[in-house]
């Protein structure tokens, strides 16, 4: 990417079980303080655990009850993150051209919680048992539409479903369209609220990676994160805080290829990467392969530089990469979270470059390299 096309992250909004403030979330990741709880999802009323859920009262959605009735939880989380993202980025869409701002969101499961409540009646023979909002609340592109309407975003916008790399695909598309000048800004991220009885059962029944009892490799989680991506010049002109420079994004059929591609594109040696945020969302062989690929690439000193977030906020599938990118931004300039965990927050070498991996259940991967923004 040419220097004048340098793209940065200039706004962040997130909601997950660890909180909805970037600093708080990053602190909790550094302290390895997980947010694991339970919630009754099935008709037997027994709380399902472990789950990483977001407190209803902790979602900063700013919507009325009437508006909420039309939306599934994954859209509500996405709206909350998008609103905070634009506010943090000091971007008022109404001041500019709506068609110059795009929206790129990853989502894998859609909104089954909304449908589950109504589908029993439907299958009992009442085709009118579903309410009029099912058609627009359930499908994965619902957050894209609702956010575009709420915030007045009119530019090219798309939704991506590719498991744990969905948000990585969203970032890739948004970033390129900004760099190519099609858009001035792109709100990119991911959202997921898969904690429904039906979706949970399907994961137990049909996905590998868990143990013999069918438990998932990581606690199922929910959340959303949105990042404002734009050219550096555009962000500085608005006096927006620049959280990170985006050095490169690579999509590949395997994580060793995506990591190699991203380092090659950014012309960065592995030893210049200060922190690696692993995907580790699938369990089993996929996670082992990722760890092996990271070990092969980064070699010695690995333990000081690698963290995994899913044991902390759960596996939020399509939101994972967006949350990890936000967390990665939060770590830039801080000391290593491993050092912080040991109480060595002061005096350590500040993190300048973070590599974020996403790997889906088919083994395909997206890797993103971000670095600390330094004015030149």
């Amino acid at each position: 990417m040419a220097p004048d096309n340098t793209c940065v992250i200039s706004g962040i909004g997130l909601v997950c079980s660890l909180g909805n403030s970037l600093n708080d979330v990053v602190d909790r990741v550094a302290q390895r303080r997980a947010a694991i709880g339970s919630r009754p999802l099935f008709t037997d009323g027994v709380p399902v655990e472990p789950l990483c859920t977001v407190d209803d009262d902790a979602i900063p959605h700013r919507m009325t009850k009437r508006q909420l009735k039309k939306l599934d939880r994954f859209t509500i989380l996405a709206i909350a993150a998008a609103q905070d993202c634009l506010e943090a980025g000091r971007l008022r869409v109404a001041d500019g051209k709506p068609e110059r701002i795009g929206l790129f969101i990853g989502n894998e499961f859609g909104g089954w919680r909304y449908v589950e409540e109504q589908i029993s009646g439907l299958y009992q023979g009442d085709l009118e048992a579903v309410n009029p909002y099912v058609a627009t609340a359930w499908f994965p592109a619902a957050p894209q539409g609702e956010i575009s309407i709420l915030l007045g975003i009119g530019g090219t916008s798309k939704t991506f479903s590719a498991g744990a790399v969905s948000a990585g695909c969203a970032l890739d598309q948004g970033l390129h369209l900004v760099a190519e000048g099609v858009l001035e800004q792109a709100v990119v991220g991911g959202c997921e609220a898969p904690l429904s009885a039906l979706v949970l059962n399907s994961a137990t029944e049909m996905e590998s990676g868990g143990d013999a009892s069918g438990r998932a490799a990581y606690p199922p989680g929910e959340g959303a994160a949105m990042l404002l991506v734009e050219r550096a010049a555009s962000a500085t002109a608005r006096n927006a805080q620049i959280h990170a420079r985006i050095d490169a994004v690579a999509l590949a059929g395997s994580v060793d290829r995506s990591m190699a591609a991203v380092l090659a594109e950014a012309q960065v040696r592995p030893d210049a990467v200060d922190l690696v945020i692993l995907s580790r969302a699938c369990g089993g062989a996929i996670d082992s392969e990722e760890l092996q690929a990271v070990q092969d690439l980064f070699g010695t000193g690995l333990a000081e530089r690698v963290i995994s977030t899913k044991p902390l906020y759960g596996n939020a599938t399509a939101a994972n990469m967006a949350l990890d990118l936000a967390i990665g931004c939060g770590f830039l300039g801080r000391t290593s979270p491993i050092q912080e965990e040991r109480g060595q927050r002061e005096g350590g070498k500040p993190i300048r470059r973070v590599l974020v991996n996403g790997v889906d259940t088919a083994g395909q991967a997206v890797t993103v390299l971000i670095s600390r923004w330094e004015h030149t």
Binding site: S120, Y123, E128, V134, T136, F139, Q144, I149, S157, A362
Partner: protein
């Protein structure tokens, strides 16, 4: 540096007109209706019973895998259409993408697919199995079942890609009824940026289920012309009253021009321009002025680097809803001025219904076939043209005419409007 050109080198489809492309095109040119009454499940008279259903589809004949009994119908449509498209492109051998001849690197061969409702039949089937068709509540399951998880939307593309041995990146773009073109747009970007040499792109959809039928009925989107279902889809007609739910799949092999030429591939057409915007107004309504459709069209024309007067045929979204067809007409007048009244326009949905994301993939293929055969397929059921749709609709009978530059429009829930320019391939 000039950007890479993207051409179509393979096409395949499954539609209510038949299980493959020749069957579709024959009936399409004849102007036949493949819309009929839904006999899959009981529907009350006051709910739409007309559907564009694929009948006589024999997945066992696909003979490239052995789980056709358990696979979702959308996946089966995708497999069938993709097999036909890869064969057409000369890239299919022994059940897999053929990398041995022609220098195709499977790792640079990606899949960008779309589906608005994914593997919804399987999802509903899982619900019924776990609840005894809604009679019991959902309880924790400890069963272990084979197959991929249909609740994951992305699994449709990863399943399809892995079955054909595609080593490149696989993703699903579930942007509702604009999805097929959005998947193609994503593919075009990937090729232009050099991220892939070949991208298999399109959509597969099997939405004729109780949940989807009920959901569309509840918002009054579907036609209630139950007494004559074959006439229910009637775009631009004064008496249209909603769309007809359809199913099917349309897959195209998109390829970098130089890559296609180097391996001696047959080039069907070139995709030169794409444009997409949000109307940021309403999740399902379209602004009556058509401004957002016009804007996506202007973007596509600009992306193609051509003036509006080059467009000589419009393959419209033409959903047969009162709102869409008027908004589209207004958009065409906004872009083309009074010339809009003389540009031939058609809507394939009049014949086979609206297969959501798959509809625009199928319509892009029909556009390419129009260029190939110099034939404009008709919009059937046009008895009394709506005076608010003052267009040169190719009414009821195909028209023989050479076309070189086609505009394809599409609109979807979430306020998405996507447009594409499809051109006859020339060397320069």
């Amino acid at each position: 540096m000039s950007r890479r050109r993207v051409v179509v080198t393979g096409m395949g489809m499954v539609t209510p007109h038949g299980p493959d492309l020749p069957a579709f095109w024959r009936k399409c040119v004849e102007g036949r209706s493949s819309v009929s009454r839904n006999d899959l499940f009981t529907i009350p008279d006051h709910i739409s019973q007309a559907v564009g259903m694929v009948r006589g589809f024999e997945p066992a004949s696909l003979d490239i895998y052995d789980n056709s009994q358990t696979d979702d119908r959308a996946l089966l449509f995708g497999v069938s259409a993709m097999r036909e498209a890869l064969t057409d492109a000369g890239l299919f051998k022994n059940g897999l993408v053929d990398g041995s001849s022609g220098g195709v690197d499977p790792h640079r061969c990606a899949l960008h697919l779309s589906s608005a409702v994914g593997q919804i039949s399987s999802m509903e089937r899982h619900f019924c199995r776990q609840t005894d068709a809604g009679r019991n509540g959902l309880k924790p399951s400890r069963q272990q079942l084979p197959g991929s998880n249909p609740f994951r939307f992305g699994s449709l593309s990863t399943e399809l890609g892995s079955r054909f041995g595609l080593g490149g990146f696989k993703m699903l773009i579930p942007t509702g009824c604009a999805g097929g073109m959005d998947a193609m747009a994503s593919a075009i970007y990937a090729i232009r940026r050099g991220h892939a040499d070949v991208v298999v792109a399109g959509a597969a959809e099997a939405p004729i289920t109780p949940l989807v039928v009920a959901a569309f009925d509840r918002i009054g989107a579907t036609s209630k012309r139950n007494h004559e279902p074959e006439c229910a889809s009637r775009p631009f007609d004064r008496d249209r009253d909603g769309f007809v739910l359809g199913e099917g799949g349309g897959i195209l092999v998109l390829e970098d021009l130089d890559h296609a030429l180097a391996r001696g591939a047959r080039i069907h057409a070139e995709l030169t321009g794409i444009g997409s915007v949000n109307n940021y107004t309403h999740m399902t309504d379209i602004p009556e002025t058509g401004w957002s459709i016009a804007l996506s069209t202007e973007w596509a024309l600009r992306d193609a680097g051509i003036a509006p007067d080059r467009i000589d045929f419009i393959n419209a979204h033409g959903s047969s809803t009162p709102q869409n067809d008027t908004a589209e007409t207004n958009a065409f007048y906004s872009v083309f001025g009074e010339r809009a009244a003389t540009i031939p326009v058609t809507s394939i949905k009049s014949q086979i219904g609206h297969s959501l994301a798959a509809s625009n993939a199928i319509e892009v293929i029909s556009s390419v076939l129009a260029i190939r055969d110099d034939i404009l397929p008709p919009t059937i059921n046009l008895k009394h043209q709506d005076e608010r749709c003052r267009l040169d609709v190719v009414a009821n009978t195909a028209r023989r005419r050479r076309v070189d530059c086609i505009l394809k429009t599409s609109s979807g829930f979430s306020g998405i409007h996507s447009s594409m320019i499809i051109q006859r391939y020339t060397e320069h």
